[in-house]
Amino acid sequence: MENITCACGHSNPYGTKLCEKCGRPLTEEEKQNKVVDMRYDGTAIRSKTYNKSIIDKIWNFFSSVKVGISLIIITLVTASLGTLLPQEMYVNAPDAVKPAYYEKVYGWFGKFYNNLGLSDLYSSWWFQIIVGMLGVSIIIASLDRGIPLYKSLKNQRVKRHESFMKRQRIVAEGQVTASPDEVLDKVEKKMKEMKYNVRRDGSALLAERGRFSRFGPYINHVGLILFLAGVMLRLVPGFYVDESIVVREGETRAITGMDGYFIENRDFILETHNNTPQGEQLKQGVNVVAKNFQTDITLYKQPEGAIAGDTSNLEKVKDYSIRVNHPLKEKGFALYQMGYRLDELKQMNFALKNKETGQSLGEVGIDLTNPEKEYDLGNGISIKLLVYTPDFSGFDNGAPQTASSAPNNPAFLFKMITPQTPEGETSFVEIQNTIEPLGYNQYEMKFAGIETRDSTTITIRKDRTIPILFVGGIIFMIGVAIGSYWNHRRLWLQVEPDGRVVMAAHVNKNMFSMKKDLDAVTEYAGLPQYTDQLDTIAEDEENASNGNKEEKGDNTL
C-alpha cells in the first residue's frame, strides 16, 4: 500500500483521512464535507484500510462498531427472554422432574420454553458464545481505533492548514487591529487561565484541555475485558468452590470443599419481628416477618499431617455467629447462612413393654442419624434393629423403602429378645402404626417420645476470581468516569502578520461548556465572533425542509 503525500509534503500512511501534519483533507469524501469527521482525528484505521486476507476480514468484522452494537442488542434481547419464566435454578423441584414441572405449571408454552433451552439460558453454550463474541469485539475494536488515536493525539502539530480549520464545527474568521503577537499572548493567557495547555508555533496557537478523556472508553474496555476474563477463570479448578452442607445442632462435620476443616453447629437461632402485621404483610397472609437467621458455630482444623477424616485431635480455630449478610471468612473461604430446618427429628425413644401386663423392661433411645445395630438392656434382654428406613415410603416386595436419607418419617423393623422369647419377636414400627409380620407378639416397642433439633444449611464459597473482578470493575468505573465527566477541548488559532485571524475549535462532547470558554476568550482577546457550522447546516436544512438528516455526528470516541 502506498503512502499518501499531502500538499504540505508530509507522507501519511495509506488510509489516512486528514493529513497527520497539517490536517488537510486527503480523501474526496472529506474534501466535500462541510464539517470533517473528527472521530479518530482522521488517522488510518486498520479495519477501514485493509480487506484482503481472511484475518483482515475477521478483524474488520469484529472491529466494526455496527457489529459491536448488534452484539449488544442481541445479548440484551436474549437475556430478556430468560426472564419470561423462572430459570431452572429458581424452580423448586428435583432436577429430573424440572421439564415436567414446566409443562405442568406453564402448559405448552412451558414445555416449548424448556425444550428450547430457555429455562437454563444463561449457562447455555450459545448465550456464552454471544457474550464471548462481544468480548472479542470489544478487544479488537479498541485496538483498531485506540492505538492510531493515541499516536495521532500524541503527535499533534500546532499549525494546521486552513482547509482543516474551516471544516471544524466551530469556525471564526476576521481581522484584528491589535498586533498579532499581542492577540496570541492574550489568547494564551486566557486559555491558560482556563486550565488549557497552550503551545505556539510562530503565528499559530493550539490550546488543548482534557486530552486524557479521549482514552476513557479504551480504559473502560480494558476493565470489561478483565472482568470477563475473571468470570472465565472460574472454570479453572481451584479458583472456585461452591458447596453446601447441612449441619445439625450438636453435630461436628467436615466442611465439603474446605479440606481439613470441621464445623460444629452449637445452636441455630431464628428470631422474628414482633410487629403487628398490617398493610401488605396482612394482605399476603404473612403472620411473622423473620428478623434473624443465625448459626452459632465453632470452626475446627485438623492438626498438620492428620489423616483425612480423623477428628480426634481437632484444633479450635474460632467461634463465630454466621448470620445472613455476615458470612464467616477464613483463608479465602466464606461460609454463609443459607437455610434451616426447625425441629428435625433427632432421636426416638421406645419402651419395651409386655402387652398384657404393661410392664416395662427398659427404654431405648435411637439416634435417627446414627442408629446402632443392637441395644442391650441387660438380663438377657436386647433389641436388634434389623431394618431402619429414615423416610419410610411403603413396602416393595415386602421390604420397607425409604424416600430419602432425612429422618422425616422413620420406621423400624425390630427383633425383641427377652428371657421369655429367646428366639425373638419381630415387629415393624412406624409413626402411629405397628405391624406384627410374623404373627402375635407378647412384647411391643411402645413409643416413648422424641427429641428434636434444628439443622442449618451452610454454603461454602471460595472465589479467587473476586480480586480480578474487583480490579476490572474499578478500571471500568475509572474509564467510564473519565470518558463521561471530562471532555477533550481544542482551539486552533492562526493570526497572520496582516491581522487576518482564523480560529477553529473542536470538542468531543459537551459543546455547551466549550462555547462558554470560547465566549470568554473571544471577548478577552477581541477575536472575531465564531459560528457553529452545525447550526447553519440545521438552518439550511430547515429552510430547504428536506427530512434527510443522516448527518454524521461530530462526537468522537
Binding site: 397472609g285 416477618v289 428478623k291 449478610n325 443459607m338 459537551n510 459543546m511 462526537n555
Partner: protein, 393 residues
C-alpha cells in the same frame, strides 16, 4: 404530631409544590411568547417552588429514615417515592447547568405521576427481613435510583425534542408513537384515579382459588373483579362477579387492576381529546415551540453521560458486592438483575450509536424514551409480574 405523621405531611407539601411549580413553568413559557421580560421572573419563581418541594420531600425522606431506622427504600412505596424525589433532584441539577424552563414542564409532571403511583402502594413501615439488614441497602438502592433518575432526564429532554420536531398535523409513525407515549402517561393517571376511588370506598371482595402449584389459597381484590383467579370461588363478593376466569399462571387480581387502569385511562384520554379537539401531543406542542433543539439534544446526551456511570456503580457494581455478601454469589440471573443488565446494555448501545453512527437528535430522543421505558419496566413489571428475589411488594 409524631415523626411519621410529620413525614407524611412533608411528602404531601412536596407533592403540592411540584404541582404548583409545573403550572409556574408553564406560565414561564407562555410569558416568553409575549415579551420575554417576565419569563425570568416566572422561571425564578417556578424553580424556587420546585426547590421548596424538593427540600420538603427530603424532609419526608430523612424523618422517615429516623423513624424506621433504615433508609426508606425497602418497599414499593418507599422506593418509588424516592425515585420521584431523585428525578426532581436530577432535574434541578440539569436546570442549573442549562437553565431550560421547558424541562420543568415535563420533568415535574413525570415525577408527580411517579409519586402518585407510589402512593397507591401500602405506606406502612414494614420491618426488614434479614437479607435486607445491611448498609448496602442504603448504598446500592440509593445510588441505583439516582442513576436511573439522571437517565430519566434524557427521556424528558427527548420527549420535548420530539414534541417540537414531530409534525402532528400529518399522519406518520412518529406521530402515532409520540401520542402513544402521551396515552401511557394518561393511563398512569387512570390507575391513580381508579385505585384511589376504590380505596376510598373500602372496596373488598374475597375469593379462594387454586394456584399454579395446585394449592388452595385466598385472595382479596381491592377493585371489582373483571378477571377471576384459577378455579375461583367467592367467599365474600361485592358488586360484581369475575367475568373471565384465568389459568393458574396469571394473577387475575393484577390483571384486573391493569384492565381498570386501561379502561379509565382510555376514557380520560378520549375525554381530553374530545374537549381539546386535538391530540395531546398537539396540546403541548405550542409550549415547546421556542426550545433550542441543539441544546435539548445536548441535555439528553449529557444526562445519559452523567447518569450512566452512576447507574453502573449503583445497579451493577454495588449490587454485585451486596449479593456476594448476602447470597454468596455476586450474580444470580434474578429477573431484576437481568433487567438492570439490560438497561445497562441498552444505554451502552445508545452511547455507541451516538458516537459512531451519528444517531443524534430525533433518533437519540426516541432511544432515550425507550431507555426510560426499560427502567420503568424494571421498576413496575419485574417487581409485580416476574417473581424473584427483589419482589418485596
Amino acid at each position: 404530631m409524631s415523626l411519621i405523621d410529620l413525614s407524611g405531611n412533608l411528602l404531601y407539601v412536596a407533592f403540592v409544590a411540584y404541582l404548583v411549580a409545573t403550572l409556574l413553568f408553564g406560565g414561564a413559557i407562555k410569558q416568553s411568547n409575549a415579551t420575554g421580560k417576565n419569563t425570568e421572573k416566572w422561571g425564578k419563581l417556578a424553580i424556587t417552588v420546585t426547590l421548596i418541594g424538593f427540600f420538603s420531600q427530603l424532609g419526608y425522606f430523612i424523618t422517615r429514615w429516623i423513624h424506621t431506622g433504615h433508609a426508606p427504600v425497602s418497599n414499593m412505596f418507599e422506593f418509588t417515592t424516592a425515585f420521584g424525589m431523585f428525578i426532581v433532584a436530577s432535574f434541578i441539577l440539569i436546570y442549573f447547568i442549562y437553565r431550560m424552563t421547558a424541562l420543568g414542564l415535563v420533568a415535574l409532571p413525570v415525577a408527580l405521576l411517579i409519586i402518585a403511583y407510589a402512593a397507591m402502594f401500602p405506606n406502612e413501615v414494614s420491618p426488614l427481613v434479614p437479607s435486607l439488614q445491611s448498609h448496602w441497602l442504603t448504598i446500592h438502592v440509593i445510588t441505583a435510583a439516582l442513576g436511573q433518575s439522571i437517565l430519566a432526564i434524557s427521556a424528558v429532554a427527548g420527549l420535548i425534542y420530539l414534541l417540537k420536531v414531530v409534525d402532528v398535523t400529518k399522519k406518520s409513525k412518529q406521530r402515532f408513537w409520540l401520542e402513544a407515549v402521551m396515552y401511557c402517561l394518561v393511563v398512569v393517571i387512570g390507575f391513580v384515579v381508579i385505585s384511589s376511588t376504590f380505596s376510598a370506598m373500602d372496596y373488598e371482595s374475597k375469593y379462594t382459588y387454586v394456584d399454579k402449584e395446585g394449592a388452595t389459597r385466598q385472595i382479596v381484590y381491592n377493585m371489582p373483579p373483571i378477571f377471576g383467579m384459577n378455579e375461583f370461588e367467592a367467599v365474600e363478593e361485592h358488586g360484581m362477579s369475575p367475568l373471565v376466569e384465568m389459568p393458574g399462571i396469571i394473577n387475575a387480581k393484577k390483571l384486573t387492576t391493569v384492565a381498570w387502569s386501561l379502561l379509565v385511562g382510555t376514557i380520560l384520554y378520549w375525554a381530553i381529546r374530545l374537549i381539546a379537539r386535538r391530540r395531546i401531543s398537539a396540546i403541548f406542542q405550542p409550549l415547546v415551540k421556542k426550545v433550542n433543539l441543539q441544546l435539548l439534544d445536548e441535555i439528553g446526551y449529557r444526562s445519559v453521560l452523567i447518569g450512566f456511570p452512576v447507574f453502573t456503580l449503583g445497579a451493577l457494581i454495588f449490587a454485585m458486592i451486596w449479593a456476594q455478601i448476602a447470597w454468596s454469589r455476586f450474580w444470580g440471573w434474578d429477573p431484576k438483575e437481568v433487567w438492570a443488565l439490560i438497561t445497562w446494555l441498552f444505554y451502552a448501545a445508545f452511547l455507541h450509536l451516538r458516537l459512531s453512527k451519528g444517531w443524534e437528535g430525533e433518533r437519540s430522543a426516541w432511544l432515550a424514551l425507550i431507555g426510560f421505558g426499560i427502567i420503568l419496566f424494571n421498576l413496575i413489571a419485574v417487581n409485580l409480574i416476574l417473581a424473584g428475589l427483589h419482589s418485596y411488594a
